[in-house]
């Protein structure tokens, strides 16, 4: 009887401990959470010296190690941990963690193509307007892109994309095209001209395996990159299906596909990386951050690339923001780090290391930016080419599902590249867009 009673007691304790372990949370850190969480408008540094690790989630080359190291040298109690995921996974995880209320990093990088989806969730992010940030550091357009519907500033601008065309001068030479970047820029005042030159190239290039560009999605992105309203109108309504600008971009991209100009490589895939190494295409729609990808993917092609003006003369593709989700455990310190990472000095350091063009306005006149030349790209004057491309850009309208619509159209172009009938692919894309964003 004693044994049975003990057995019951033992199993009751076992059950109870299982229940409690299921419910248990990180109770040990609640004290630090409340301590950090109550520090609100901290214009000055927190002055706290407790040891902590600040995590930052990125999807590409955002900050060189030297930038992180300089911060940790000045703040010895802080360790910075960078987590990298691919673009899609990074943003999907961020959205899921925001919805769940936990799991976000202390600082999350959000790209311009995705940030519109977060502007309706402003209450989940720290409002930088209350954190002593001067919005005049950035252009009004950049600030607007990161301003939530409730008026809070959720993101601090890191880089800005701009737009150009990066081309392989050696492949141009082999096909009898001019190689000097000024002359190349004059070849394509419009995107129609770009496609015409492409047909010329395809006809004259000695190596028939070389195509004009990597993927039609990039051509369409380039064409739309200079427009004010593409997928959304100014009232926030989806107009992707009816906007003539979008249809024209689609039609031109399809024309170029049918002219066999596309290498049909999925962007940022292993095949795309190989494409650079194997020289499978002669041009690529090139914002400033793309130069880092080219450099990393095909280091042996150094000096063979150059940069020319984009057709249409202007455009912006990409650029990111640093955000601090409120669910983080150390929001005050994270805000301090975010401010440091987006100062003009840091932005210039990133520009020198990775080529990402800085977004703070006063960096644009600095000699080290304006006079910068990129040796990998035959000393192209990157400090002049990229700012020119976004100098006269209208404020571009975006909406919560801009990213999804872009992907749907890219996918449809991919279908056409694989041989599908363009009309069918277009209708399918519109149906999917209607379902996802309508």
């Amino acid at each position: 009887m004693l044994d049975r009673r003990h057995a019951i007691a033992a199993s009751a304790i076992a059950t109870a401990s299982l229940l409690l372990s299921g419910c248990g949370g990180s109770s040990s850190t609640t004290s630090t959470t409340s301590a950090a969480g109550t520090t609100t408008s901290a214009a000055a540094s927190t002055g706290s010296t407790e040891k902590m690790t600040l995590t930052i989630n990125v999807f590409g080359d955002s900050f060189p190690k030297s930038v992180y190291d300089a911060y940790t040298a000045a703040h010895p109690n802080i360790t910075i941990k960078e987590n990298r995921a691919d673009y899609g996974a990074h943003h999907n995880n961020l959205q899921a963690h925001l919805a769940a209320g936990s799991g976000t990093a202390d600082i999350e990088v959000i790209e311009i193509g995705q940030i519109a989806g977060y502007l309706g969730q402003g209450e989940k992010f720290v409002n930088f307007n209350d954190q002593g940030v001067d919005p005049a550091q950035w252009s009004p357009a950049k600030i607007k892109q990161a301003t939530a519907t409730d008026g809070s500033l959720v993101g601090l601008g890191t880089d800005i994309g701009g737009l150009a065309i990066c081309y392989r001068a050696d492949l141009f030479k082999a096909a009898g095209l001019p190689t000097d970047r000024e002359e190349v820029g004059k070849l394509w005042p419009t995107w129609e001209d770009y496609v015409k030159v492409g047909s010329d190239f395809i006809a004259k290039t000695p190596d028939k395996k070389v195509k004009w560009y990597d993927g039609a999605g990039h051509v369409m992105t380039g064409i739309l990159a200079q427009e004010k309203n593409t997928f959304y109108d100014d009232q926030g309504e989806v107009i992707a299906g009816t906007n003539p600008v979008v249809k024209q971009a689609w039609d031109l991209s399809v024309t170029s596909i049918q002219a066999k100009q596309s290498a049909a490589l999925a962007e940022f895939s292993p095949e795309w990386n190989t494409g650079f190494q194997q020289g499978q295409f002669a041009t690529i729609t090139c914002p400033a951050w793309m130069t880092a990808y080219i450099r990393n993917n095909a280091p042996e092609t150094k000096g063979k690339w150059d940069i020319a003006t984009v057709p249409g003369g202007s455009g912006n593709w990409g650029g990111s923001f640093l955000t601090v989700p409120k669910a983080g455990k150390h929001t005050a310190e994270a805000v301090d780090l975010a401010k440091y990472l987006t100062t003009p000095d840091t932005a210039v350091k990133v520009f020198k290391e990775f080529g990402n063009y800085p977004s703070p306005v006063k960096t644009w006149d600095l000699p080290e930016v304006e006079d910068a030349k990129d040796a990998f790209f035959s000393d192209a004057p990157v400090g002049v080419i990229f700012p020119k491309s976004f100098a006269n850009l209208p404020e571009q309208a975006a909406g919560p599902q801009s990213g999804v619509i872009g992907v749907a159209l890219n996918t449809a172009l991919n279908q056409v590249e694989q041989g599908e009938d363009p009309t069918k692919a277009w209708e399918k894309a519109l149906k999917d867009i209607e379902a996802a964003a309508g």
Partner: protein, 315 residues
């Protein structure tokens, strides 16, 4: 209570109501942790999914979480050609990957059952693919089946066949994904069949051999009938696996957009669900897809059960 006391002559027995309750309650107390965990991690999410499927929740649309739309997601689902297409893909890839795989596993088990030299190493060797990670396999096979520089296309080129874009056409992508699934699961199923074969007397094979039966005849007339219950088991498990197919189609698509190819050539239902939930942010609709899949699986399970009953009934 005396029957419990019978095995323990030295102990005092509990009599009466408390003793009876004690004995009756014990089994439930012991298994309750499992059911509690199931309630928390299985039943509650399922019920919550039903709840979410009745809303229009999209995290990018503020205020949509509380917006009830009733069965609208389900009517959308019934008319959604992408869902039916994904279902077709799931069944198709399931058949193409399961049927040849189980036949091959059966044959391998039959061969491994013979007293071969080094048969232990062979038997362990067939299981090696099973222990590799799904992600690693998908990425490497993805490279094998690359369009421009993949080894498979290279070998095909050697015999004069044009390069195939394995992701562009439905059949090519189904074959490639089935190759991954077969590579992983054939050994596993072969060992299950092999274990079942141990109960088949070797004398049957010997006497068949004496009677002049070929290895093929032995296989068809001894091995297969003896394994009928095991075959039914592996078919059910493989069906479950086929419905859950997700990692391979997700990673086979170089665009990483969870579209299962540019035209959803190989998008399975779970992948479609994943895309709608994570990429498109349609939490409510994705929940409806999940429950739609549950209904489909339920139907398949019932069909399976009826077939099994019929087959067993024949014996």
């Amino acid at each position: 209570m005396n029957d419990l006391a019978a095995g323990h002559p030295g102990r005092r027995t509990t009599t009466g109501a408390r003793g009876r309750l004690d004995a009756r309650a014990m089994p439930y107390v012991l298994i309750s942790p499992y059911f509690f965990l199931f309630a928390v991690f299985g039943a509650f999410p399922l019920l919550y999914t039903v709840y979410v499927s009745l809303t229009a929740w999209n995290p990018r649309k503020p205020g949509s979480k509380e917006k009830f739309i009733g069965a609208e997601n389900y009517t959308k689902l019934l008319h959604d050609e992408n869902f039916w297409h994904a279902l077709k893909n799931t069944f198709g890839i399931g058949l193409v990957s399961t049927v040849p795989q189980l036949l091959l596993a059966l044959f391998i088990a039959h061969l491994l059952n013979y007293r071969l030299k080094g048969r232990l190493a062979l038997r362990m060797g067939v299981l090696l693919p099973y222990v590799t990670s799904v992600t690693a396999v998908a990425l490497i096979f993805g490279q094998f089946f690359a369009r421009d520089f993949g080894p498979v296309n290279y070998v095909l080129g050697l015999v004069g066949v044009d390069s195939i874009d394995w992701r562009a056409s439905m059949w090519a992508s189904w074959l490639a994904i089935s190759a991954m699934v077969m590579w992983r699961w054939t050994g596993y199923n072969a060992l299950i069949y092999l274990a079942a074969l141990q109960s088949v007397s070797y004398d049957l094979y010997e006497s068949a051999q004496v009677d002049g039966a070929s290895k093929w005849q032995q296989f068809w007339h001894i091995t297969v009938p003896s394994l009928r219950p095991t075959i039914i088991f592996t078919v059910i498990v493989s069906t479950i696996g086929a419905f859950q197919l997700f990692g391979e189609p997700l990673l086979f698509d170089s665009t990483r957009a969870a579209n299962g190819g540019s035209g959803r050539q190989f998008q399975t239902v779970v992948l479609y669900l994943y895309q709608q939930f994570w990429f498109n942010g349609r939490y409510g609709y994705a929940s409806a897809i999940a429950l739609g899949l549950l209904v489909v699986i339920g139907i398949v399970v019932i069909v399976n059960l009826l077939l099994v009953r019929r087959i067993s009934g024949e014996d």
